[in-house]
């Protein structure tokens, strides 16, 4: 397999949008996900790695060899795309054996390899079917088998499951992760789904507006977002703006209007800060005296809990309150909030 280094890859398009510089490295056998909203540059980055888009600058190294100018077909890459893109004029077998045929494999060797792959991906019964005779999930398996046929050194997966229903998607995510670990193949996965990225990645690179804004393990990103975008996108946290007004018992005291929230951190008094508070770290206090004063703006039932939007000094935060407690509140209620100091991420404003 291969170690991949993306060094400052960038691309500017005629319409003015630009991507990069992108810096990212993947260890041999690692699975890294490019995660970000639509238009953040995930697919463009992947297509630069595949060789379909020629970058304006930067370099791409596979095991320290520069492949920036190498044509896609010589990069030893397997790729599965969102539309599956199975060849409609060929059977499942012919699709999987395509790469072997064009590489000049003997027919017997091709048959053996296709059978091996189809067994691995549980699609042996589909080999003689036409493409329009298989389901969406089966199509993804066939596309994966086709991508793996020539033992590629790098596997690129561009939102391969986005068109599938959630249950099947979760099932295939598990399968693909298992397969990737079994084969030890270096993999770049593109998705806009945070849960999908968390389910299958060794590391995640979060993209926004054409650049990587943070890279880390799923846990690192969730627990320690380095900026407001990651905090919002990964944790779904509410963003509050305030000022460090003091320190008490090793905790920062952050003033938000008249209210004060405690948080861990080492930021000088007087500095403006941004706070990210995750919905599950807020509870509505039973006490009538201690807590941050807020008023209930809306109450929306969700699976297992209520999402309650609260107004703290003119700033909105979301809290997830379990069903039995959440149903007590209605818009307009004045409440006191307990916000766990460990659940608050503080980012100094620059």
């Amino acid at each position: 397999m291969v170690r991949v280094e993306i060094n400052g890859l960038r691309k500017k398009f005629p319409d003015g949008t630009s991507i990069g510089p992108i810096d990212l490295s993947l260890e041999d056998g690692e699975m890294v996900t490019l995660l970000g909203p639509s238009g953040s540059g995930k697919t463009t980055t992947l297509r630069m790695v595949a060789g379909f888009i020629r970058p304006d600058g930067g370099s791409l190294l596979f095991d320290k060899t520069d492949v920036t100018g190498v044509p896609p077909r010589e990069r030893k890459i397997g790729m599965v795309v969102q539309s599956v893109a199975l060849f409609p004029n060929m059977s499942v077998f012919q699709n999987i054996s395509f790469a072997l045929d064009v590489a000049g494999w003997e027919h017997e060797a091709s048959v053996t390899r296709v059978e091996e792959l189809s067994e691995m991906l549980s699609i042996k019964n589909l080999l003689n079917r036409r493409i329009d005779e298989i389901s969406g999930g089966e199509g993804q398996r066939v596309a994966l088998a086709r991508a793996l046929a020539l033992d590629p050194e790098l596997l690129l997966l561009d939102e391969p499951f986005s068109a599938l229903d959630p249950q099947l998607r979760r099932h295939l995510q598990g399968e693909i992760r298992e397969l990737q670990q079994k084969l030890g193949i270096t993999t770049i996965y593109v998705t806009h789904s945070q849960s999908e990225a968390f389910a299958i990645s060794d590391r995640i690179a979060v993209l926004n507006e054409g650049t990587i804004v943070q890279t880390g393990t799923p846990n690192e990103l969730y627990e320690n977002p380095e900026n407001e975008f990651v905090a919002k996108f990964i944790g779904g946290g509410s963003i509050l703006r305030g000022k460090v007004v003091g320190e008490s018992r090793g905790l920062l005291e952050i003033g938000i209007g008249n209210a004060t929230i405690n948080a861990e951190g080492t930021i000088a008094v007087g500095k403006n800060v941004t706070l990210s508070v995750k919905p599950e770290d807020i509870t509505i206090s039973e006490s009538t005296r201690i807590g941050v004063q807020a008023s209930v703006v809306s109450v929306t039932p969700q699976v297992g809990h209520y999402r309650i939007m609260l107004d703290i000094q003119g700033q909105l935060v979301a809290a997830d309150i379990p069903n039995q407690d959440g149903m007590k509140y209605t818009p307009g209620n004045e409440v006191l909030l307990e916000i766990s100091s460990t659940g608050v991420d503080v980012i100094e404003e620059r």
Binding site: F52, A85, F87, N89, F98
Partner: protein, 548 residues
């Protein structure tokens, strides 16, 4: 069944009834009468005749050769326009497509002027070689017919094949590339199978048009080369109704098989379609030098063949070969209101053409509805009926209209309504297809929204559906109009001198060597067609390939 449903069925049945009355019945009665009562040869005598065998084999051979030539010249263009990006591509492509909407008789004038004896190329060669005699003549006989047919049908390949190529999901090509396929392997294994149906469809349509060809063969064949359609015309002229009917029957059987195959291909052509928004294209600069030269030579050649005859019509309009002088006499003739002058044919062309367009749009719209109907068998019946006018001999139809409608209704002395009917029928296949395509692009949710908001069927039709399919209506209208004003086969059979259209006048002028009059009238028709074409180009966003 409630009253509304009855009214709906009554409206949907209108085009079927009209096509039956004005197409099926007249043609069937001509065939029946001719085959059973004559006068003239019997069916078996016709089959056995050497002339028939010569005519049928010529019809086939010229259609096959014309199709092959149009394919060879059109296919590289289709690939080039779908895959390459270069400056001016949009305009060159548009120019190359114009010939398809030109009236055939105008093509004849352009061809004679460009490639004929004493034409532009011949005159240049005579000048260079210092010869007093004509050196080349590519505008008559076998060569002329095949070249003119190719000229006429190259746009079919350009439109249909490039439109299919643009629908190829670019990710399919990319995946093939990343799996190691070379450019040649990708073309052979991915692109070619994808466009195979489109190539076949364009080939069948080209073959069909060449097989049915009348004005081009009549004018360039010099009496020696005759297609079945020309021979039907001759047989009617010499009152051998038996021969005319027998030939028409043979022709209909062949064209119906072709039309059915074409229809089947349209249904089967699905699969690798993807978003056209970013279909994979390459800048011209990405080609190596030899490929660039090849593309340049091809473009020059195709422009010479396609644009040359159109440009030379300008010369034909102002150059009088009889006096060897430039003159505006041809245009003066267009304003001459006396019988034999050009003003009446001009008014007739516009009047008949406009009425035919209106009727063909109405029929086309209803056909587009029935094409999308869920009533079992109705879409297939519609496809068949819509294609019928393309596969039926226009001369036979004209004669049928004469005996079943004109004579009983006393329209023989001024049969202009029949000319409008014939021109309407020729436009229906195009209008129905253009409107059906526009309808298929309308999001059904919008119609459901209108329903849920309480719109009646008529309100929904006028306020929601018609505005949404307006571009399709316009494309259909322009195609129908272009077909109508260029129609010559049925019109020449039906028209009395006061019904002559510009197309007929051009043919008659050519026959009596009034070249400059023919040239001026042709230039006017070209101008009308180019305006019509610009309208299609503007409103169809390159989507008119599917209309064919």
């Amino acid at each position: 069944m409630n009253r509304n449903r009855l009214v709906e069925y009554a409206i949907l049945s209108i085009p079927f009834v009209l096509l039956f009355v004005f197409l099926v019945l007249p043609v069937a009665s001509v065939l029946f009468q001719g085959l059973v009562y004559g006068p003239g040869s019997t069916f078996f005598e016709v089959l056995d005749s050497v002339v028939t065998q010569r005519v049928v084999s010529f019809t086939f051979i010229q259609a096959i050769m014309s199709t092959i030539l149009a394919l060879l010249l059109g296919l590289p263009g289709a690939i080039l326009f779908a895959k390459l990006r270069f400056k001016g591509k949009r305009y060159i492509r548009a120019l190359l497509i114009v010939p398809f909407v030109l009236p055939p008789i105008v093509v004849v004038v352009g061809f004679l002027q460009m490639f004929g004896s004493g034409g532009i190329i011949d005159s240049l060669l005579m000048l260079i070689m210092g010869s007093q005699h004509s050196i080349i003549d590519f505008a008559s006989g076998y060569v002329g017919i095949i070249l003119a047919h190719a000229f006429y049908n190259i746009p079919l390949f350009l439109l249909i094949v490039s439109s299919a190529l643009e629908r190829l999901n670019p990710e399919i090509e990319e995946v093939a590339e990343i799996l190691g396929a070379t450019a040649l392997q990708r073309f052979r294994r991915i692109i070619l199978p994808h466009i195979r149906s489109a190539i076949l469809a364009a080939s069948i349509l080209t073959f069909l048009f060449c097989f049915m060809s009348f004005p081009i063969v009549l004018a360039l064949g010099e009496g020696s080369y005759m297609t079945i359609e020309v021979q039907i015309w001759n047989a009617f002229r010499f009152f051998d109704y038996g021969e005319a009917s027998s030939l028409a029957l043979i022709q209909i059987l062949i064209t119906l098989v072709l039309a059915y195959t074409y229809m089947k291909l349209g249904k089967d052509d699905k699969g690798a379609s993807g978003p056209t928004a970013y279909s994979k294209t390459f800048p011209l600069s990405s080609l190596d030098a030899s490929m660039k030269i090849l593309a340049g030579v091809y473009l020059l050649l195709i422009l010479l063949l396609s644009i040359g005859p159109m440009i030379s019509i300008v010369r034909a309009a102002v150059w009088d070969p009889k006096t060897s002088l430039f003159s505006l006499e041809g245009f003066a003739n267009l304003g001459d209101p006396t019988l034999g002058g050009g003003f009446v044919p001009l008014v007739n062309s516009l009047f008949y053409g406009s009425l035919a367009t209106l009727f063909s749009l109405i029929l086309g719209t209803i056909f587009a509805y029935t094409q999308r109907s869920r009533i079992r068998g109705l879409p297939s019946l519609t496809s068949m009926m819509v294609l019928l006018p393309l596969g039926v001999s226009a001369i036979t139809l004209a004669y049928g209209l004469m005996i079943t409608i004109a004579v009983p209704l006393g329209l023989s002395s001024n049969p202009w309504p029949l000319i409008v009917i014939a021109q309407t029928l020729i436009g229906v296949p195009f209008s129905a297809r253009a409107i059906e395509i526009a309808m298929s692009k309308v999001d059904p949710a919008l119609i459901e929204q209108a329903d849920s908001l309480g719109a009646s069927t008529l309100q929904r039709l006028f306020f929601v559906e018609l505005p949404l399919i307006a571009p399709g209506l316009l494309v259909g209208a322009v195609f129908s109009f272009a077909m109508a004003i260029g129609e010559m086969s049925a019109t020449i059979f039906l028209a009395t001198p006061e019904n002559f259209t510009l197309a007929i006048t051009i043919y008659r002028d050519l026959a009596v060597r009034k070249f400059i009059e023919a040239g001026a009238a042709s230039l006017l028709l070209v101008a009308i067609c180019i305006i019509a074409f610009i309208v299609i180009e503007k409103f169809s966003e390159n989507g008119y390939g599917g209309t064919l």
